[in-house]
C-alpha cells in the first residue's frame, strides 16, 4: 500500500493533506497553493486542466470550464432544485441513464463523477509530487447530509482517479476531529460548516479520543454560490437599468457578473461598502463597463434569507440533540462563507459567544480527513502535536520526501474513534401512499434495524419495497431512493405472510437493504440502484 491521504473535495475548493508524525502536511499545487479550486477545464485537444489554471480560463471558456460539479454529483437531474441550479450554469447538462446529469462538452458527454475524478486525480498528483511516493488510498469528505446517491457517486469519482476510498467522512465530523484530536478534551461542540455549495451543522460530544456526533442537519443546496448568485442578480438588474442590457440569457455575461459578485462579497467581509465598475462585459461586439455600489447593510438584506436558514437549522439540531445553547462549549466555524460578517454576528447572537478563532476554516476539514486516513491505515501517531494550526512543512521540508519517516520509532498508534449518525430518516412505502420509518434521523452508525411487515392483499406473491429518504409521512413527499422486489411469496390471505425488512447503514453512510420472507427464509439482498447514482460505463 502507498500513502493514505485525506481529501476535502469541496464545491469551490479542495484540499489534500497527510498526517505525519510532526503534524498535518498539506500538498501544494504547482503555484504553491494549498487550496485547489475544484474547477476542471476541458481543452479542445482532449486534455484537461485542473485547479488554479482551470479557474483562470473560466471567463474565456465558460462552456467547457466546469466548476461546482459537487452541486450536481449524485443528483437526480429531474429534481426541481437541480433544474433551478441548471438555469444559472454556463455549461450544458442533459439527462443520462438512471436520471443522472451528464455534462455536454463540445458534443461529448461527461459524467459528474468523471469531472470530480479529474479534481481528485489532480490532488493525488500534487501529493505524489510533494511526497515523492505513490498515493493509493484516501479518506474523502462529504457533506453530512449527502444522500446515498451522492456518496456512491463520490466513491465512483475516487475510483476513477485511481484511489482506494477508505472512507467517506462527514465534513463537520472531520472538522471536529481536527479540532479535538490529541487534546484530551471533554466538550460539546457545534461545528457550523458553511462552504461554497453546502451547509452542515453538527453537534459533537468529544470525550478524549471518542468523537460522537449527537445530531446533524444541513442543506446541500445552500452556500456561497447562492450568495454570489444573489449579488449577481443585483448586478444584472443594475446592468439592465443602467445600460439597458439584460445579461441573464447570456452565459458569458452572467459568468463575468458571478465572478465580480464573489469579489464584491469577499470585499464586504472586510469593508462596509464596495464601489467600482465591472469591466469587460462583452455585448454585441462591444465591451461594456458597469458601475456599482453595494453596502454591507444592502448585502445583509440580499442574503438574509440564506443566513436565517442556517440559523434555523442550527436551532433544529440543538433540539434534536436535546441540548440548550448553554451546553455548547465551543463553536467551530468551517467553510469560507463563515467569514461573512452577518453569519458571524447571527452565530454569536445565538450562542452568546464568539466562534473559536484558532481554526482555519479552509483547512480544518482536510486536516481531519488526513488524521482519519492515518488512523485507518494504522499510521497515526500523536507525534509533536497534531493540533490545528500546526506549523506545516513545505515541500522541501517534508520528512516523507526524504524517506525519513520516524514512525517506527514512535509510540503506539493513536486511534481516535468517530461515531457518526444517519443524516435523514430512511423509510419504506406502505399501503395507501403512506410510509414507515425504518431508520430515523440522527441514529448512530453503522446501524442495523429490522421491521416486520405483512402483505396487503390476498394471494399476493410479490412485494415491491419502495425506499425513500426524508421526514414526511406521505411517501411521495420524500426523496425516492429506489425499489427492491421480493418474489415468489407463498400465496396466502392478506396479512399472513410476514416480510422482514432490514435496513443497514454502513460506516460510509451508505444504505443496504434486505427483504426476507420470515417463514421460508427466502431473501433478497440488495444495494439499491439509486436514482441519480452513476451507472458503470454510463456516458
Amino acid at each position: 500500500m502507498g500513502l493514505a491521504v485525506g481529501i476535502d473535495l469541496g464545491t469551490t475548493n479542495s484540499v489534500v493533506a497527510i498526517a505525519t508524525p510532526t503534524g498535518v502536511e498539506f500538498a501544494l499545487g504547482p503555484a504553491g497553493e494549498r487550496v485547489h479550486p475544484s474547477v476542471v477545464g476541458f481543452q479542445p485537444d482532449g486534455s484537461v486542466v485542473v485547479g488554479l489554471d482551470a479557474k483562470h480560463q473560466r471567463v474565456d471558456f465558460p462552456a467547457t470550464t466546469i466548476y461546482s460539479a459537487k452541486r450536481l454529483i449524485g443528483q437526480n437531474v429531474r429534481t426541481p432544485l437541480v433544474q433551478l441550479a441548471l438555469t444559472g450554469l454556463p455549461y450544458a447538462v442533459e439527462e443520462g441513464p438512471n436520471q443522472q446529469p451528464l455534462i455536454v462538452i463540445e458534443g461529448r458527454r461527461v459524467t459528474v463523477p468523471e469531472v470530480s475524478g479529474h479534481v481528485l486525480a489532480h490532488l493525488k498528483a500534487c501529493a505524489q509530487r510533494q511526497l515523492g511516493q505513490a498515493v493509493t488510498d484516501a479518506v474523502i469528505t462529504v457533506p453530512a447530509n449527502f444522500t446515498d446517491a451522492q456518496r456512491q457517486a463520490t466513491k465512483e469519482a475516487g475510483r476513477l482517479a485511481g484511489l482506494e476510498v477508505m472512507r467517506l467522512l462527514n465534513e463537520p465530523t472531520a472538522a471536529a476531529l481536527a479540532y479535538g484530536f490529541g487534546q484530551h478534551k471533554d466538550e460539546t461542540v457545534c461545528v457550523f460548516d458553511f462552504g461554497g455549495g453546502t451547509f452542515d451543522v453538527s453537534l459533537l460530544a468529544i470525550k478524549d479520543e471518542v468523537f460522537e456526533v449527537l445530531a446533524t442537519d444541513g442543506d446541500f443546496f445552500l452556500g456561497g454560490d447562492d450568495i454570489d448568485r444573489a449579488i449577481a442578480e443585483f448586478l444584472a438588474a443594475e446592468m439592465n437599468r443602467q445600460l439597458r442590457v439584460d445579461p441573464r440569457p447570456d452565459a458569458g455575461l452572467m459568468t463575468r457578473l458571478a465572478i465580480a459578485a464573489e469579489e464584491i462579497k469577499i470585499h464586504l467581509s472586510e469593508a462596509t461598502a464596495a464601489e467600482g465598475t465591472v469591466d469587460g462585459l462583452l455585448h454585441r461586439g462591444r465591451s461594456l463597463s458597469l458601475p456599482f455600489r453595494l453596502t454591507r447593510p444592502q448585502l445583509d438584506e440580499l442574503i438574509r434569507g440564506y443566513v436565517d436558514r442556517t440559523i434555523e437549522l442550527t436551532r433544529n439540531v440543538l433540539t434534536a440533540a436535546h441540548l440548550e445553547v448553554g451546553a455548547i462549549t465551543e463553536v467551530v466555524c468551517v467553510g469560507g462563507s463563515t467569514r461573512v460578517p452577518l453569519v458571524r454576528r447571527r452565530l454569536a447572537e445565538l450562542f452568546g459567544r464568539e466562534p473559536a478563532l484558532r481554526i482555519n476554516p479552509d483547512e480544518v476539514v482536510a486536516q481531519g480527513a488526513a488524521i482519519q486516513a492515518g488512523s485507518l491505515s494504522g499510521a497515526l501517531y500523536r507525534g509533536g502535536g497534531m493540533a490545528t494550526r500546526d506549523a506545516v512543512p513545505t515541500a522541501a521540508l517534508s520528512p516523507l520526501a526524504h524517506g525519513d519517516v520516524p514512525w517506527a520509532k514512535a509510540a503506539a498508534p493513536a486511534r481516535p474513534i468517530l461515531l457518526d449518525v444517519t443524516p435523514a430518516t430512511l423509510r419504506i412505502a406502505t399501503a395507501g401512499g403512506y410510509s414507515e420509518p425504518i431508520l430515523d434521523k440522527n441514529l448512530p452508525t453503522p446501524i442495523e434495524r429490522t421491521r416486520v411487515f405483512t402483505t396487503a392483499h390476498d394471494q399476493q406473491t410479490r412485494v415491491v419495497i419502495e425506499c425513500g429518504r426524508g421526514e414526511r409521512k406521505r411517501f411521495a413527499e420524500n426523496e425516492p431512493l429506489g425499489t427492491l422486489v421480493l418474489d415468489e411469496l407463498p400465496p396466502r390471505r392478506r396479512g399472513e405472510v410476514k416480510i422482514e425488512v432490514t435496513f443497514r447503514v454502513d460506516t460510509d453512510g451508505i444504505l443496504h437493504v434486505r427483504a426476507r420472507d420470515a417463514d421460508t427464509g427466502a431473501s433478497c439482498d440488495a444495494d439499491l440502484t439509486i436514482l441519480g447514482a452513476p451507472t458503470r460505463g454510463a456516458a
Partner: protein, 221 residues
C-alpha cells in the same frame, strides 16, 4: 484500548448465534439496572475496544463485515436507550411482549412470594468507561472478563424455594421502584396502572419470578 483481533473474533462467535434474542442492555453489556447516565459510557467503552475502524487492517474482509453487522446491533440498542424517552418506549415495548408467567401473586400479597434470586445479566457486563460513574444503586454485577474466555450465558434463576421474601431482595432497584408504584396504584384501585408498572418492572428485571407472578395474578379475570 482496542481489543486484539482474536478477542474480537471470540466475541463475534459468542454473540452471533443469539444475536436476535439479546436485549438492548445485553448489547450494551449493562445490567438492566444501569442508570441512564451509564448508557453513553457503555457505548463508548464498546466503541473504544471494538469499533470496526480499529480492525480495518487487522481483520480479513469477511470478519470485518461480521464485526460491522454486530456493531450495528450495538448501535441500534444505544439508539433506543440513549434518551430517557427512548428508554421508556423500549421498556414499554419489551414489557408488552413479555410472556405471561405461571406463578400467581399480586403486589398486595407479595410478602409471601417464593424466593427469587436477582439474576446476573445474561452476558458478563463490562464496566462502563472510567469517565462514567457507575450506576448509582447497583454496580454492574460482573467484572470484565477477557472475551476469549467468556462464560457461557447463565441459566435463568431457579424457580424459587418456599420461604417468604422481601420484594426489595426479589428484584433489582429499578424494578422495585416500578413495583412500589404498582402497589400504590392498586391501593387507589387503579388496576390498569398497576399492570403497566408491573410490566415495566419485568422489563427492568426480566428474571424476577415475583414480578411474573404478580402480573399473572393481576391480569387474571
Amino acid at each position: 484500548m482496542a481489543w486484539t483481533p482474536a478477542q474480537v473474533l471470540a466475541w463475534l462467535d459468542e454473540v452471533e448465534p443469539r444475536a436476535d434474542g439479546r436485549s438492548h442492555f445485553e448489547w450494551l453489556e449493562l445490567a438492566p439496572t444501569a442508570a441512564p447516565q451509564a448508557i453513553q459510557g457503555a457505548y463508548h467503552a464498546i466503541a473504544r475496544t471494538r469499533h470496526p475502524d480499529l480492525f480495518r487492517a487487522a481483520l480479513p474482509a469477511a470478519d470485518l463485515d461480521r464485526l460491522v453487522r454486530i456493531y450495528a446491533r450495538v448501535s441500534g440498542a444505544y439508539a433506543d436507550l440513549r434518551t430517557a424517552d427512548g428508554a421508556a418506549a423500549y421498556l414499554r415495548r419489551v414489557s408488552a411482549a413479555a410472556p405471561p408467567a405461571a406463578t400467581t401473586s399480586s403486589p398486595a400479597t407479595a410478602a409471601r412470594r417464593p424466593a427469587p434470586t436477582t439474576p446476573p445479566p445474561a452476558t458478563a457486563a463490562r464496566r462502563p468507561a472510567p469517565t462514567t460513574p457507575p450506576p448509582a444503586a447497583t454496580p454492574p454485577p460482573a467484572a470484565a472478563t477477557p472475551p476469549a474466555r467468556r462464560a457461557a450465558p447463565t441459566t435463568p434463576p431457579p424457580a424459587g424455594g418456599a420461604h417468604e421474601v422481601d420484594p426489595a431482595r426479589a428484584m433489582n432497584p429499578r424494578a422495585l421502584a416500578l413495583y412500589r408504584r404498582a402497589e400504590g396504584a392498586l391501593r387507589t384501585g387503579d388496576r390498569a396502572t398497576a399492570i403497566l408498572n408491573i410490566k415495566m418492572a419485568i422489563a427492568a428485571d426480566p428474571g424476577s419470578q415475583l414480578l411474573r407472578g404478580a402480573l399473572a395474578e393481576l391480569t387474571r379475570a
